[in-house]
């Protein structure tokens, strides 16, 4: 029986391999617009198959193990250097591509990929705080919301269980820099988190709906999710903590052991066209890095304060660097104590 199945599977694979134009994209779940892929296939004849992952670590572990069959992956900024250091991403002269000039210059010389030799922006966003103004109508642009919460919010707060983002927010709140190994500062961070935890209801994902249904009154949350929550419940606002907050960007790159390199390059050039980049944003509700794509976005997105912050709020955003293992050890120890 098993031999039969394996034989059948092997046959199916051979048949699949014979069809010329295909592309295997390994991306975050629910992150790739099906319309985008349909349009790409219609224009180029290349069929894109998407396989999902749910965390950078899973993607990294799987790609590193090898023999995965993927052509492209979309890691976050702080994981791109790890992928590069391990030799998992192919160096490509993206700047020679026709649509490269569409990239917002702000996203070209980024610290994690100087000059964009390995990756091209997919989407970017922020991790801030969402507040239901019918419960608390004070200033939302502060981490006080979850680290030193006002009486009205106590017991109604959620924190997304994302160690890197949460630790970075707390460290910035205490006046440090992400990846710090300053023990005095980390002690304050730990004490602050332990005390604040008393006022939290949960540490969970899926806040679009919980905020929308007013099950939680405030949450550390991503901007796109908060935007969607506001569409469900107009009382929800997104705050950019003035003490500092993490910026993140997921970027798509070609794997060094990709089998369909030319198709992958065609795809990457394709998504740097403004109308195509807008399709990515319209689907997942985050900004992309392509100039002029705003014109093609849905009207609700164009003026969304969650997606496009005002300059003074944008200034406090910090890109998370790739932390060395010593800092990760500190993070994990504090995180474990927080959740024990």
């Amino acid at each position: 029986m098993s031999r039969l199945m394996m034989g059948a599977a092997a046959l199916a694979l051979m048949a699949g391999g014979a069809s010329a134009q295909e592309l295997q994209l390994y991306n975050w779940g629910n992150y790739t617009s099906p319309e985008l892929l349909a349009k790409f296939e219609a224009e180029t004849g290349i069929k894109v198959t998407v396989t999902d992952y749910d965390s950078n670590d899973t993607a990294l572990t799987k790609i590193e193990a090898g023999a995965h069959g993927f052509d492209m992956v979309v890691p976050s900024a702080n994981y791109v250097p790890i992928f590069v250091a391990k030799g998992l991403l192919m160096e490509v002269d993206y700047s020679a591509m026709e649509n490269f000039s569409n990239l917002d210059p702000r996203w070209v010389d980024v610290p994690w990929d100087q000059g964009r030799r390995y990756t091209i922006p997919w989407q970017w966003g922020t991790t801030g705080v969402a507040v239901n103004t019918s419960v608390y109508d004070g200033d939302p642009n502060t981490s006080d919301i979850w680290l030193n919460p006002p009486e009205a919010l106590k017991g109604k707060i959620n924190v997304v269980p994302e160690m890197n983002d949460v630790m970075a927010l707390a460290i910035l709140y205490e006046g440090g820099q992400p990846c710090t190994t300053d023990r005095e500062l980390l002690r304050r961070v730990r004490d602050r988190l332990m005390e604040a935890k008393q006022s939290w209801m949960s540490m969970d994902y899926g806040m679009t709906e919980r905020l929308g249904a007013a099950d939680v009154a405030a949450s550390v949350n991503w901007n796109g999710s908060t935007f969607r929550a506001r569409l469900l419940n107009p009382d929800v606002v997104y705050g950019y903590p003035k003490e500092g907050y993490p910026l993140w960007m997921d970027s798509v790159g070609i794997l060094s052991d990709a089998r369909n390199v030319e198709e992958a390059k065609t795809f990457i050039n394709f998504i740097m066209a403004p109308e195509n980049a807008a399709m990515i944003s319209n689907f997942a509700r985050y900004a992309n890095g392509v100039t002029g794509s705003e014109a093609f976005m849905d009207d609700v997105m164009k003026e969304a304060p969650e997606i496009f912050p005002s300059p003074e709020l944008a200034a406090a955003g910090v890109f998370l660097p790739t932390c060395p293992s010593e800092a990760v050890q500190f993070y994990t120890a504090i995180w474990t104590e927080l959740q024990k």
Binding site: M1, M5, G29, T49, T51, T58, G66, A67, T208, G224
Partner: protein, 273 residues
């Protein structure tokens, strides 16, 4: 049952236990309560699985148009069917050989067969990823076989334990008697042991099927490009927002199962009459 003691006035059933039927009814109701929620939200007009915005068939249309999610569903079912078939066969053989009698290495075999229960999924997942990737690199063989092997392996204890529990109580005299009547071991097995094991095998196979259908972490790590199953497809959505699309698919599956079951039930009933 006919010779129940006369002093009882109510019709007496030896099998009835006070309150058991009530608990059973309540349990079955509780099992279906969340499923009703799943079904209800599959008809939600909004994009949420927890905020009701009115009735619509929108998500059935979305699921109908979404080739990726249909592939994932079909892959999940095929995987569960083949893995549970393999696991049940191997587990039945192992149970026949090891459920009864004392022999050297009995404890070791027992622990070996139940090992997949003991390791947290993530550990097995990482281990399989590393080893299977090497096998793929060396042999060049890709395909669904790896997922089937991994699923079949962790399904074995789920099939083995019910079958073993069933066999343990069987009277070995029945088989000895058959052997004494010069039945070959195979004949004895086919005519005596196997029919007696029936309910154990059915229970084991159902468990294996359900366990395979639910698995997410091992699948997430073992799958290659283009091998998403329904659970891994959903896991990818956990951080963002889940839409009632999955509810629609689950409901459709549920409906199909119920139709099949009803047909099966009606068919067997007419034959009985």
């Amino acid at each position: 049952m006919a010779d129940a003691p006369m002093r009882r006035t109510r019709p007496f059933s030896v099998t009835a236990m006070p309150g058991f039927a009530t608990v059973a009814a309540a349990t079955i109701l509780c099992l279906y309560a969340p499923i009703l929620v799943v079904v209800a939200y599959s008809f939600n007009a909004g994009a949420s699985i927890q905020v009701w915005e009115g009735f619509s068939l929108r998500w059935y249309a979305v699921a109908w148009d979404n080739g990726a999610v249909q592939d994932a569903t079909a892959r999940s079912l095929a995987l569960a069917a083949s893995a549970s078939a393999i696991a049940t066969t191997l587990a039945t053989m192992a149970a026949v050989a090891t459920a009864r009698g004392r022999f050297r290495g009995r404890t070791a075999v027992y622990v070996a067969i139940n090992q997949p229960l003991m390791a947290p999924e993530i550990v097995t997942a990482v281990a399989l990823l590393i080893v299977f990737a090497q096998v793929k690199l060396i042999t060049g063989v890709q395909g669904l076989g790896y997922l089937i092997a991994a699923h079949a392996a962790f399904c074995i204890p789920f099939a083995y334990l019910p079958i073993r529990a069933r066999l343990k109580g069987l009277d070995p005299l029945l088989e000895t008697a058959a052997a004494d009547l010069y039945a070959t071991p195979w004949r004895t097995f086919r005519r005596i042991t196997l029919p007696l094991m029936g309910p154990g095998i059915a229970a084991g196979a159902m468990l294996a099927f359900v366990i395979s259908l639910d698995d997410v972490i091992i699948t997430e790590f073992v799958k290659s490009a283009g091998q998403d199953t329904l659970p891994t497809y959903m896991l990818g959505q956990l951080r963002r927002a889940m839409t009632p699309e999955i509810n629609a698919i689950s409901t459709a599956l549920l409906g199909a199962t119920l139709v099949l079951l009803t047909c099966f039930f009606l068919l067997t009933r007419t034959r009985d009459n």
